[in-house]
């Protein structure tokens, strides 16, 4: 047997990327690196540099919230919704997390040659219904068509503006030691619903995407707790783990999670077991994390549970001054571990 020398410090790190990889879109560390190295240096300004779900920008007579998001999903339709639901809900939710009430949307489409009209119509119906239900208007849009094979059916962009409310500015930098951490519902449903369809898995009970408009939940929090809501984030790609890491880093605080308190549906847990995934990192499209002072947590829970989308809400942990920027999970055994950002996408395990 050969023996390795216990050499000096490893020299130049490998794994540098000379082109874009799928992992750059995972919402994990590679996504952050993509922004940091390629986008932010070129566009730096006070609004962008906050890296919120959108920007609060000055207009005459006040400020508005402004956010954009682009949607790609395969398959375009999945249990619980389609890309149209995601495209409307996603931007509504980004605006809501900034404390805004969404008002106007733009929609942009890249359509692939050959896309069936009945599929397109189902997506557009979903968008129209989701916008109407939220009381927002789609006021402008754009369509482009590309050659067959140049797009995955369709890509959708939505951009939205929302109106802000005095005294209510949840901010990713606003979490404070002593805050409680809440999630508005069970984790992992969207990601595993799409995965199950894409990979042809059949589970005992179908997993349904949680795609939904979270702005009514935020409106209730605003009306009930106002400025006591310190931070909000919708836990989309990268899951709750990534959302909490972002807030912990932005606020310079530590987050402690109680594993036993984290709501994960049985079917999601089973699917994750099979693939070796961690539900904390699986995408949601209808779950927010909220930071409120511990004494306001029971009220926040009550407010969230007043909505169907918040009926599974739970207090899952708290904020500490220790280990700033780090999310630590306490296991049922009494041990603890760090819940870090993932580098790229979760990879199915071999056994």
């Amino acid at each position: 047997m050969s023996s390795l020398s216990s050499g000096p410090v490893c020299p130049v790190p490998r794994g540098q990327h000379d082109c874009v990889q799928l992992g750059h879109g995972s919402g994990g560390k590679m996504s952050a690196q993509l922004l940091r190295e390629h986008f932010l240096p070129r566009f730096a300004n006070v609004w962008l540099d906050r890296l919120g779900d959108g920007a609060v920008i000055p207009v005459e007579g006040g400020e508005i919230a402004f956010s954009t998001d682009t949607f790609v999903v395969s398959p375009l339709e999945f249990p619980g919704g389609n890309i149209g639901h995601l495209a409307i809900h996603g931007t509504l939710n980004d605006l809501a997390m900034m404390g805004a009430t969404p008002r106007y949307l733009s929609v942009g489409f890249v359509l692939e040659e050959g896309l069936p009209f009945d599929l397109l119509d189902r997506v557009l119906d979903a968008m129209a219904q989701a916008a109407a239900a939220a009381g927002v208007s789609v006021v402008t849009g754009d369509t482009k068509v590309v050659d067959r094979g140049k797009a995955d059916g369709m890509f959708v962009n939505t951009t939205g503006v929302g109106f802000l409310h005095d005294g209510f500015r949840p901010d990713p930098r606003g979490a404070l030691p002593g805050d409680a951490v809440l999630v508005s519902g069970p984790l992992g449903r969207h990601g595993m619903a799409v995965m199950a369809v894409r990979e042809g898995f059949a589970f005992e009970s179908e997993i349904v995407s949680d795609t939904t408009d979270l702005s009514p939940l935020v409106a209730s929090l605003r009306e009930g707790l106002g400025s006591r809501v310190h931070a909000l984030r919708d836990a989309t790609r990268g899951g709750v783990a990534s959302a909490l890491n972002e807030i912990a880093a932005a606020s310079g605080v530590g987050v402690e999670l109680d594993e036993a308190a984290i709501p994960v549906p049985g079917a999601v847990q089973a699917a994750c077991e099979m693939l070796g995934f961690d539900p904390l990192y699986v995408a949601n499209e209808g779950v927010l994390v909220a930071f409120v002072p511990a004494d306001a947590a029971p009220r926040a829970l009550e407010l969230l549970k007043g909505h169907a989308a918040g009926s599974g809400a739970a207090v899952v942990g708290g904020v500490v001054a220790d280990h700033p920027g780090m999310v630590v999970l306490r296991t049922g055994l009494g041990g603890s571990r760090v819940v870090d950002m993932l580098p790229g996408d979760q990879l199915p395990r071999i056994c």
């Binding site: 050969s2 410090v9 490893c10 296991t331």
Partner: protein
């Protein structure tokens, strides 16, 4: 979840922890062989709560970790060919080769696909007659039967555009390599439950006898691991060195005869390189000569692709239990999950990644650690 929650019950687990604490009169050094066990240990903080009773050394049982650089480079070469669809288990895709990894090859235009079963790869070959479909057949005795089945079925069905790049390894020779090392510290083993589901445990009996070490066939849930540790500690305290079976709900002494039979028909024992360790004699499986037409190494003449392991990476010392991952100077600095030097940092089951992802709290003096 039904039949799973029972093996994760915190109350029962804490009772077992207490039992181990009462049983151990000194600190023992155990090795869990399988990467899946490593994951549970670190994820649940078992090494934390039992740090006065046992030191857990993480063994070489992560198939992703031990696949040698040379085989990765051969995979990268194949995946880059325009006539090839290269298929693999998901976590092999980010294992660094000499120059890049399979995900990077994919980003540059290679047709690389993650599959969940080698039979999916075979089906892909049937649907893609104008392409060569290659499956990266890695893993221990656990994955070998299904991989053997894919080759067997390919021959039965007369599929000509399917082949496998084999890098199978087997557990007992690795355990011998560890036990024979002059600086070996391992006093007892938790054997890999799923490997034993296939192979049984008769081949471990001479090892326990010759090296006078307890070997406990152990499952993967927290209760399994804790019970396995308790059984090993009890043996050590009693001065016994036997093979015991903790994983009774899955493992029989003789294993799965049908799976073993199929493996024997398709594979033969070969010398195999282990990443960071080197070649261990008779430690792997390769295709039998009668299945040569399904051997990607022969079909694509890959023999000329050679690679040496990077000397700066201490993966070998980690895999052999000589150092903990964080004792490597590169750990967490120039070697991270985003930019891994060695395979144990790549897989979610790899010892270095497990430490990086889950155990940072302990060293950052986080509460509860």
């Amino acid at each position: 979840m039904k039949y799973l929650a029972e093996y994760r019950d915190p109350k029962l687990a804490r009772a077992l922890v207490e039992r181990i604490r009462r049983t151990a009169t000194r600190r023992w050094t155990l090795m869990e062989v399988c990467g899946g066990q490593t994951h549970t240990i670190v994820k649940q903080g078992i090494n934390d709560v039992l740090s006065d009773q046992v030191e857990m050394i993480h063994g070489p049982g992560c198939p992703v970790c031990v696949t040698p650089l040379e085989q990765i480079d051969r995979a990268l070469h194949l995946a880059s060919r325009p006539d090839v669809i290269f298929t693999s288990f998901g976590d092999m895709l980010r294992v660094p080769g000499s120059a890049c990894d399979l995900l990077q090859v994919k980003a540059r235009g290679g047709d690389v696909r993650a599959v969940y079963s080698p039979l999916d790869a075979l089906e892909l070959a049937r649907r893609s007659p104008d392409k060569e479909v290659v499956f990266f057949a890695v893993g221990f005795e656990t994955t070998a039967p299904a991989n053997a089945m894919a080759v067997w079925r390919a021959r039965e069905l007369g599929v000509r555009n399917f082949s496998v790049l084999v890098s199978h390894v087997t557990v007992p020779p690795a355990m011998v390599a560890i036990l024979e090392a002059p600086d070996n510290r391992v006093q007892g083993f938790l054997a890999a439950g799923h490997v034993c589901t296939v192979m049984g445990w008769t081949e471990y009996e001479p090892l326990a006898e010759r090296y006078r070490v307890p070997i406990v066939v152990t499952g993967f849930e927290p209760m399994d691991i804790l019970e396995g540790i308790w059984m090993a500690v009890r043996q050590l305290e009693d001065g016994r060195h036997e093979v015991e079976n903790q994983y009774v709900r899955s493992v029989r002494r003789e294993g799965n005869a049908a799976a073993q039979d199929l493996m024997g028909r398709v594979f033969q024992v070969v010398d195999r390189g282990w990443r960071g360790i080197g070649v261990i004699p008779a430690s792997g499986l390769g295709l039998r000569p009668e299945f040569a037409e399904y051997d990607a190494e022969l079909r694509f003449a890959l023999g000329s692709i050679r690679a040496d392991e990077p000397a700066e990476c201490r993966a070998g010392d980690v895999l052999r239990g000589r150092i903990k991952p964080f004792e490597c100077a590169a750990f967490g600095t120039s070697c991270t999950p985003e930019s891994p030097l060695g395979a144990p940092m790549v897989s979610s089951e790899g010892a270095c990644a497990a430490y990086h992802n889950f155990a940072r709290a302990g060293r950052a003096a986080a509460p509860g650690a």
